[in-house]
Symmetry: C2
């Protein structure tokens, strides 16, 4: 059910879920998603908890830094520890000790990005597990069943991810399969307390994106994801594709950009109507000793930080910045102490979470464009100072 409101505001609801766009400022939106495990203010960053853990960060610390919804990867959980073990804990929430909302992906992305000797059939994809080399077939029905048993609040359709760098015929074929699989996922879905998200593919080809969006809209999903971007295509192609998605996707439905975590890119897609997004970037960078600084990235391995007593970012309110110096974090990173990755993960995640908090405030105040311009100018000022 969808109720349009004044000033671009709207309310969509369906059983256990609702999504309200409360403020629009240009194309940027501030809203609220309600799920069985709580509400989420949007725009919102979702930390990635690949194998039922956001790497190096305990759930209490995730909550402390302001994360409200996290992501789990069905591919990894399917093989380790296995869906049965997770289900025996009630759901992924109980297994990983996170009682807020969770989103699981379908496993499709890893099937297409990990391992080799993949055989794509029209009814699913056959592949070799990276864990033990065994052969498996993922179908839409299996992806939905696995996600129903994992018990996340939001689950994803099995799709064929087609980066814009692929040849056009492959992108077209991926769009066809993505549509067919989306319909099969809807058909396979049994649980009423999970929100199934349809994924639009089509690379950076306008015709294919329009075709994919039309197909998915016809299936009437409660929320839509933009897949296949941030995968090696040019920046301007990525942004114009998001512009197109903003034009095509219904304004009352949640929009999820799959896989973006660079702060400048995040601000750009929020400005183009994206509500939620996820990325491994903040935690992955942390494990290589890199911090999101105030004016671009900081590589803590750099000798210039050896005696630097300032926090990573003097304006940051994260645990790391409130208590530790760059010199200390650099020492930890250089000595390969786990605490280095832990503190940098907390910081980088907080930077993205706070960026969404600031974006929400700016949207509500009707000054998003100014905020985005200032942020982008400042963050880009330092370049990659590594």
């Amino acid at each position: 059910m969808s109720v349009p409101m004044s000033d671009g505001a709207s309310l969509w609801s369906d059983g256990s879920f609702s999504f309200a766009v409360k403020h629009a400022d240009g194309r940027a939106r501030a809203g609220r998603l309600s799920t069985p495990h709580g509400d989420v203010e949007t725009p919102c960053f979702m930390p990635v908890g690949t194998k039922a853990t956001v790497k190096a960060v305990a759930p209490r610390d995730l909550a402390d830094l302001g994360a409200r919804i996290i992501l789990g990867n069905t591919y990894h959980l399917y093989f380790r520890p296995g869906v049965d073990v997770v289900a025996a804990h009630g759901s992924l929430h109980g297994f990983m000790g996170w009682d807020g909302p969770i989103l699981t992906d379908s496993g499709g992305f890893q099937v297409f990005s990990l391992g080799d000797t993949r055989l794509i059939h029209d009814d699913g994809v056959e592949f070799t597990s990276v864990y033990d080399g065994s052969r498996h077939l993922f179908t839409p029905a299996l992806a939905v069943e696995a996600q129903e048993r994992l018990g996340a609040d939001i689950i994803m359709c099995l799709d064929q991810c087609a980066p814009g760098t692929l040849p056009a015929p492959e992108v077209a074929l991926a769009v066809d399969r993505t549509t067919r699989w989306a319909a099969a996922c809807l058909q396979a879905k049994r649980r009423e307390d999970q929100l199934l998200v349809g994924i639009v593919q089509g690379g950076v080809d306008e015709h294919q994106r329009r075709r994919s969006a039309a197909d998915l809209l016809a299936l009437d999903f409660g929320a839509y994801a933009i897949g296949g971007l941030s995968m090696g295509e040019r920046g301007d192609e990525m942004l114009s594709t998001v512009d197109l998605m903003d034009e095509l996707l219904p304004r009352d439905r949640l929009r999820y950009f799959m896989g973006i975590g660079d702060p400048v890119g995040v601000v750009a897609v929020i400005g183009r109507g994206v509500d939620v997004f996820d990325c491994v970037l903040p935690t992955r960078l942390a494990r290589t000793g890199t911090a999101f600084g105030r004016e671009g990235r900081l590589n803590l391995r750099n000798a210039r930080f050896a005696t630097d007593r300032r926090p990573l970012d003097e304006t940051c309110d994260c645990y790391c910045c409130r208590h530790f110096s760059r010199a200390y974090v650099r020492h930890l990173v250089n000595q390969k102490e786990m605490l280095g990755a832990q503190l940098l993960s907390l910081h980088n995640l907080r930077v993205l979470v706070r960026l969404t908090e600031d974006a929400r405030a700016a949207i509500r105040a009707g000054r998003f464009e100014e905020f985005a311009g200032e942020f982008t100018m400042r963050y880009s000022a330092g370049g990659y100072r590594e």
Copy 2:
């Protein structure tokens, strides 16, 4: 200044420090150590923060689990990040974000246990740094100066650690040097706000222990450490040596057993008059996937934990046991997720901290012997169930 009180109670104080034995129960003691960075109830376990970090545990989590004083290693800090960098942060407290009491060792233990081509002179020890192969000479004066600049509350004399497994002449020589170096450390000491601890050596040889204790007592330290134990000698030799130390060391001074972390051993030495102790065992075991269980150690890699939904210890109040199952911790350990080591470190540290809390309560209630007997029986019941 020392004030004897009734019932084995006593108060020793000197400038910024005091140590009060408040309850004695048999030979076990419960007391309070006061330092410039706060008070510490004894018996007390000190987590080891080798390179300015208790591995995988953030300071706020250390405080949360009840740790009140931690240890840093001068050898490692001397080379990385260097004493200058730490001193530029005020002290080790400021550098590592821990504002409670800290104890630093002298560096001697690592000089004797790491690296090779060591040359022991009467005035110090020449060795090769494990960090870059450079040659260095550690003298008592240098060990004190380095520790004064690191700024811990409690600092240690440079000693020559002589395990009971060494030939008698070597143990005798180590006692001689330890006495000479202790006197030199006292002489070198400048700061009034640090407590310098004398270390008794002598392996498991009663004559050498008596000689070392007499030498050190003559120098009148404010606190005494028992060094050279828990280093491969037989258990009964270790315990009889602690018995002897209890007999020889002044009752009003803090006694520090260097390097014991096995719960049964901890209870045994508390029962023999030890006030504080440290060990890397809880965090090192954690990084190999091993937990202190209620009835002995648990190796979480064992397949029998794959579907075990119980916490590591149903009676434990640590963050890990309150929120996560053995199956989850096992999954993290098997997948080499950092959070596995983080959670196991929190748990193992909490087990030792809580053991000291329980021991203090038992001492105050006059039922330490009963407590120790029950604990030892239970913990030993499971054997090493790996």
